[in-house]
């Protein structure tokens, strides 16, 4: 399998008033085509920051200091996302790579209907496709026998056709922008909205929303948490992205709804041959959906491996600790001793050493290097 995303030596720092926070410290990671990669760790370990740097959305005062993120868009040479211009990144964001956020009610705009918000994505990234569809529709109208009323409409249709033909060839043609500015001509654009709406409805049906026509016209506050999350997923999938970043999409949902959403994501991944980067703090959820898992702690990776390998044979003491913390039937959950380190003054050597039950002298001084223990199962620990 080929790599879709290849992150090498990524360093992200936040320059706060209290000092420099090393949010992501020299991470090497790759996500293969059509796989679900789980990024697991506690709050503040840098998993969201890693995901945001793929989209180049690190908020100020954060900065991507070093590293490269290669993204294999098409068959050709992979693109370095960190070297692209802001303009190019904006084209990729939301169309080739899109993101689902943790809190669906915060990700949706309360004053627009669900349909409007999904159409917006389609209009932004798939305008050429929309225009092409409209050209075909107008062609059909033009082919009609010309009755008395149609004689009046005919020149209008011709105008529309030429406009949309230009748009389908070049989505940012100047004609469209001009029409947008002139109030009287703006009614020519009503077809765009209708067509985008139709496509949005199709996307809504894809995410198994019951009664999609009704939901389409509703505002976010009228929907339950699970429905909102489905709408957000629909929005993220509107442009059939190659990579879907899901940042704890089920933490605010019930277990039954969580199971539905996980199943949906799994099905969409198979149907569309997309990859998913699934961020979670719960190893139990990760086991349900992921193919490979990377465990993060304080900005560094601890262990990366296939999901079966990882659960049958966890190597890093932190992975052990995380697995013990998950409540299991008949077993009392065991907490990890100590607290998360202060992100400004991280411990020297291996960052987990103050909380590690198997700490050695070497861990305090030396940063552990990656060691591949088995094929596809690597660990960053002095024990191996």
């Amino acid at each position: 399998m080929n790599e879709l995303i290849k992150i090498t030596g990524l360093v992200v720092r936040f320059y706060t008033y209290d000092g420099v926070v090393q949010a992501v410290d020299n991470i090497d990671l790759d996500i293969k085509q059509a796989e679900t990669f789980g990024l697991v760790g506690e709050t503040g370990c840098g998993k969201t920051v890693t995901a945001l740097s793929i989209l180049r959305l690190i908020p100020s005062p954060g900065k991507i200091e070093a590293g490269s993120i290669y993204f294999a868009v098409n068959k050709g040479q992979p693109l370095d996302l960190l070297a692209l211009s802001e303009e190019r990144v904006r084209q990729i964001r939301g169309s080739r790579i899109s993101m689902i956020f943790q809190e669906p009610s915060a990700a949706l705009n309360p004053v627009f209907t669900i349909g409007d918000q999904i159409s917006e994505v389609i209009l932004l990234h798939r305008q050429a496709e929309v225009a092409e569809k409209i050209t075909k529709a107008v062609d059909k109208l033009l082919a009609q026998p010309r009755g008395f009323i149609n004689i009046v409409r005919w020149p209008l249709w011709r105008m529309e056709k030429s406009l949309y033909q230009k748009t389908s060839q070049n989505p940012r043609a100047w004609q469209l922008r001009v029409v947008h500015r002139i109030p009287l001509l703006r009614r020519l654009l009503s077809r765009i909205k209708d067509e985008a709406g139709k496509m949005a409805l199709g996307v809504l049906k894809d995410v198994e929303i019951p009664d999609a026509e009704r939901i389409f016209k509703q505002h976010p506050h009228q929907l339950s948490g699970g429905m909102k999350q489905r709408a957000v997923i629909a929005m993220a999938l509107a442009c059939s992205p190659k990579l879907l970043i899901a940042d704890e999409p089920t933490t605010s949902l019930d277990v039954t709804i969580q199971a539905q959403i996980l199943e949906l994501l799994n099905r969409l991944k198979v149907d569309r041959e997309a990859s998913i980067l699934y961020i979670t703090h719960d190893l139990a959820v990760a086991a349900e959906i992921c193919d490979r898992i990377g465990v993060m702690y304080a900005g560094s990776l601890c262990e990366v491996g296939g999901v079966n390998d990882m659960y049958a044979n966890p190597l890093h003491p932190y992975t052990h600790a995380l697995l013990d913390a998950v409540p299991k039937p008949g077993v009392e959950p065991r907490a990890i001793g100590g607290f998360l380190p202060d992100p400004i003054n991280l411990p020297s050597g291996c960052k987990f050493h103050p909380r590690c039950p198997r700490v050695m002298e070497r861990c305090r001084e030396q940063v552990p290097a990656m060691r591949e223990v088995a094929a596809g199962h690597s660990v960053w620990c002095h024990l191996y």
Binding site: Q258, L262, E263, V285, N308, A335
Partner: protein, 349 residues
């Protein structure tokens, strides 16, 4: 073991007001005829999806909400309870019934009596980010219940707060800080400290760990266990995660649309669920075992609106085994096997 809390046919309805005159046009039946028994020293888990009324039930037990009908007995002897029952059945001595209820039924308490009763019970909210006043220091937050109930002087309060805060695993030096300086897990510890301040007998936890990391959740659960042993507390633990309930609780009630569908030993419910809804909850709870992936049953749809619950068994539109009978007749909670109650026409296994 003695019974600490008992409810009889507890109902909480929220009226839906319509029109200019705000006439009631129906009601949301949040809690609909619950008979609950919590024994002293018990850790009862209450499991269900959001919107099934579990938080409403928890708040009503503490009388933060006023029940529409039914009784709540908090630490009342069996004789008085049976006397109220017989008086109610015979409708003979109305004055005596009223006097007894004023004295013992938490459901109709008000004023000073309610305030005194509340000293013995407390609530820990779901989200520690919104349940703590950002303008108060930890000292004030934890000490506030003592001030409200006028239990002790200022010096004593300070000593007591310092004592409790150490019990929940924070240091005395942190008492002068504000809530925003703490992480989610630490904030939940502060909320627990506040709940312990008046030395209560009974604490309701409303999904205390759902906004926390799994690793922090384990810390909080261990803390609760320790405190319960040390202070001889009784817990009602509301959650939607059955695995959590199974690993810590010693009795479990599964709730659906304002009613209990299954009550019993958590381990038994977890391994051999008798109600299809409990089974669905068990199967949809994620487990840290990737090999289990393909054997899930996913519950379709969502919880119907409690304003207009389905006729017959409330679970029948989502149930795989629903029959004619389920659509027409509502099942009642009946004993099934030893120490288990199930409300289903066709119990599993």
């Amino acid at each position: 073991m003695d019974i600490l809390i008992e409810t009889r046919n507890l109902r909480v309805l929220f009226p839906i007001l319509k029109g200019i005159l705000r006439r009631p046009a129906g009601a949301v039946r949040a809690v609909d005829g619950i008979n609950l028994v919590i024994r002293k020293g018990q850790w009862l888990g209450l499991v269900g999806e959001s919107g099934c009324g579990k938080t409403t039930l928890g708040k009503t037990l503490l009388r933060l909400l006023r029940p529409t009908s039914g009784h709540i007995y908090f630490n009342v002897s069996t004789e008085i309870k049976s006397e109220i029952d017989s008086l109610e059945a015979t409708k003979s001595n109305h004055a005596r019934l009223q006097a007894l209820r004023q004295e013992c039924d938490l459901a109709i308490f008000s004023g000073r009596r309610l305030k005194t009763a509340r000293r013995k019970m407390h609530l820990v909210h779901q989200d520690p980010y919104t349940s703590l006043d950002p303008r108060m220091r930890i000292q004030e937050i934890v000490g506030e219940p003592l001030v409200v109930h006028k239990l002790m002087g200022r010096e004593q309060i300070r000593e007591r707060v310092a004592d409790i805060i150490k019990k929940v695993g924070l240091s005395e030096a942190q008492l002068r800080r504000y809530p925003h300086e703490f992480s989610g897990g630490q904030r939940q510890r502060i909320a627990i400290a506040r709940a312990l301040a008046t030395n209560p007998d009974f604490i309701v936890f409303d999904e205390p760990t759902s906004s926390l990391d799994v690793s922090v959740q384990a810390q909080i659960l261990n803390l609760l266990k320790e405190l319960k042993r040390e202070w001889d507390l009784t817990y009602l633990y509301i959650t939607h995660n059955l695995t959590v309930a199974e690993s810590v609780c010693d009795n479990l009630a599964v709730m659906y649309l304002g009613k209990f569908v299954e009550v019993g030993n958590p381990t038994e419910i977890f391994h051999t669920p008798k109600h299809p809804y409990s089974q669905a909850l068990v199967l949809s709870t994620p487990k840290p075992d990737p090999k289990r992936k393909r054997e899930r049953i996913i519950l379709p749809g969502e919880v119907p609106s409690p304003a207009n619950p389905p006729a017959g068994c409330r679970f029948h539109p989502r149930c795989t085994w629903a029959t004619e009978e389920c659509q027409q007749l509502e099942p009642v909670l009946e004993p099934a096997g030893d120490s288990r109650l199930v409300a289903c026409w066709h119990p599993l296994n």
